[in-house]
């Protein structure tokens, strides 16, 4: 019962912390913003470090939940952008989550084993592929009515060429850098901790961008299918990615990933600082996109595609844009997750667990970023944290009971409050920017609200 009470307090504290963070970020004064963010970071960091009795206030179990919550929120926010704000039903988020995780993990794994080639190849690869995509995009926009399949073929060829070039160039450069690692006894400069931190950040970003590029290729033809079919296709994507994960050492040339057995030995570089930083990055980028003309265009696609077209909006472009950004977030989340847990297995990314982000965003409220964040933390701390342990104490059935109780909770939610916990409400920073009504003299004079007649 002590545990129950403690968990309850933690959940409330976490939600309050989220509220506080968003309030502080939403303050108009820059000073308050910065100090506040640092303070919010500090509160949690202190809780991790300071011990009361034997354990820290946030023990390792709690910290684990915290990190997982952060990554889950990143993934869920991405899905909310794609589905909640843009209206495209995607079940593929975990595919990109997985791609991000494995990509980032591989880069740092190779680095810690004295191979710079992972980072260099991947880095050059994403940059080259990105350049090809952007360049081809500009070139192809000169053609109107280009069939999507043809465009896709061209992009695919371009990406493959870029990838091959990146591989050869990167491998050469990477090999050239090997001496700088030194040996395990006499480590060179590249083996230092600072280097590892830098590589970690780069790896996560590269992984996110790579996921986004895959999303571009996949989304380009498939988004044209319409929301329902797109959902099925994206589910298929998750399954295909999962199959590839099981075969990373057979079909794909990544023996260190060990296919179905899972990849181990990933450096556990994720700290609260990094999790917080990347979470903040995702939140800020998402909010800035949503509260802008681009965001309104994205939402208009969800509301009414025909009307959106009539407003001069190329809906195919905006569906693709949302999908790409949403997958970027998922990829980043994957990178952060991989370096928290230290090992990866395909089972973590199968399509059944792939429903989690969907459940979270519906639970929190589809068009609400705050709702997703709160629901994500709540999910981790309440369901995965408290409930799991409670049920674990009840017998060996615990993992199964989770999957019985989640659906029941979900079903109750759907029947009682389909809008989700927070509906469309947003807190602090995430609230739409205030628009003050204009008051010109002309308006003040004719305040009757009657239409002028011109006859």
């Amino acid at each position: 019962m002590e545990f129950f009470f403690g968990s309850f307090v933690k959940i409330v504290a976490v939600v309050a912390w989220v509220y506080g963070l968003l309030r502080v970020m939403g303050n108009s004064s820059k000073l308050v913003k910065i100090v506040g963010i640092v303070a919010m970071f500090g509160i949690v960091q202190v809780a991790i470090l300071v011990k009361i009795g034997d354990d820290a206030i946030l023990n390792s179990f709690d910290t684990g939940l915290l990190f997982q919550a952060c990554t889950m929120v990143m993934v869920a926010l991405g899905l909310n952008l794609i589905y909640g704000f843009n209206g495209q039903f995607s079940l593929g988020q975990y595919g990109f989550y997985g791609i991000g995780a494995y990509t980032a993990a591989d880069i740092t794994y190779r680095w810690t084993n004295g191979q710079a080639s992972g980072l260099i190849v991947a880095g050059i690869g994403v940059v080259l592929i990105g350049a090809v995509i952007l360049g081809l995009n500009r070139f192809l926009s000169r053609f109107r009515g280009l069939p999507v399949l043809s465009a896709f073929t061209l992009y695919l060829i371009g990406v493959i060429v870029a990838g091959v070039v990146a591989y050869y160039v990167g491998a050469t450069i990477g090999d050239a850098l090997t001496p700088l690692f030194g040996s395990t006894d006499a480590p060179g400069i590249l083996r230092s901790d600072i280097a590892l931190q830098l590589v970690f950040v780069l790896a996560v970003l590269i992984a996110g961008i790579f996921a986004a590029e895959v999303a571009f290729l996949f989304g380009l033809p498939v988004l044209t299918l319409g929301s329902d079919y797109f959902g099925i296709a994206s589910l298929g994507f998750t399954i295909v990615v999962n199959t590839l994960m099981v075969n990373t050492d057979t079909i794909l040339p990544f023996p260190e990933m060990k296919g179905g057995q899972g990849m181990i030995g990933i450096p556990k570089v994720t700290t609260w600082f990094w999790a917080f930083a990347f979470l903040l990055l995702v939140i800020i980028v998402m909010r800035n996109v949503i509260h802008s003309s681009t965001g309104r265009a994205i939402m208009s696609v969800r509301e009414d595609e025909t009307a959106s077209k009539a407003m001069g909006i190329n809906i195919a472009n905006y569906k693709l844009l949302s999908f790409v950004i949403g997958s970027l977030f998922a990829g980043i989340g994957g990178g952060v997750y991989a370096h928290y847990i230290g090992f990866l297995s395909p089972g973590t990314f199968d399509f059944i667990v792939g429903f989690n982000p969907l459940i979270i965003i519906v639970f929190g409220g589809l068009g609400s970023m705050t709702g997703t964040i709160v629901a994500g933390f709540f999910w981790m701390f309440f369901l995965e944290g408290m409930l799991r342990v409670l049920l674990g104490q009840m017998g060996t059935d615990a993992p199964t009971w989770r999957y019985v109780l989640y659906p029941i909770t979900l079903l109750l939610m759907m029947l009682l409050r389909p809008k989700g916990l927070l509906g469309k409400v947003e807190w602090g920073f995430l609230r739409p920017e205030e628009v003050t009504p204009r008051r010109t003299a002309e308006m003040l004079n004719s305040a009757t609200g009657v239409m002028p007649t011109v006859k």
């Binding site: 996109v289 003309s293 939402m299 009539a310 001069g312 628009v435 010109t440 239409m451 007649t453």
Partner: protein, 269 residues
Amino acid sequence: MTNTVTTSSSTSQPLLEVRKLTKFFGGLRAVNDFDMTIQPGELVGLIGPNGAGKTTSFNMISGLYTPSSGEIILDGQNIAGLEPHEVTQMGIGRTFQNIRLFQNLSVLDNVRVAYHMHAGYSMIDAILRNSRYTARERELTEQAQDFLSIFKLERIQHELAMNLPYGEQRRVEIARALASNPRLLLLDEPAAGMNPAEIVTLMDLIHFVQERFGLTILLIEHQMRFVMGICERITVMDFGEVIARGTPKEIQANPKVIEAYLGKGAAHA
């Protein structure tokens, strides 16, 4: 407010010329050899019984359907087959038979979406929240608000579109179509579902819009009082073809038109 129309170089060149427009849906010919010419500044009506092909023609002009054959020439350029968003960018705005507002967005946001084409900043600017974003977003918002105030809608600018009464929704839809700065405005049954008092208000609004913005307007409508009262010229369709053209007076006296509407109520306003 200044006149915003970029007048075409030759005053005699029509703004919109539709030639031999035809649309097949499988084996069904919905529109057959539809011809029409509209001069800048005109207010033209397109009427006919249900199923005559009026909305199909609208959809072809605004790019939602691709014509099976024929040309649509806007100010000298053939726009047949363009994507709807491209047609809008070329300067044609429209409203819809069933109001298509962005239900979960506010009135202000509905109008701001129309400004997206001319937003003046990229997504990167928005993410970085740089000075270009702040300046342009404020400018955009003020323009939208001023625009709303022309239509006396600024009081409800923060209301969600779905919470508005029907008549106001119609007004917002027209305002939104205008905010995209069109040269030609297509109105699809703007008076649908309105009572006589609302129709009078709507007639005033359309006259006002035409004068204030110097617009060319083509509208579809069933309410004869409205059509006869407001349109300078009328084209009548039935079974996908044009059966009559002329002024309201001529149309009302035209036996073919009366026959097409036989039993459908007032062909006389």
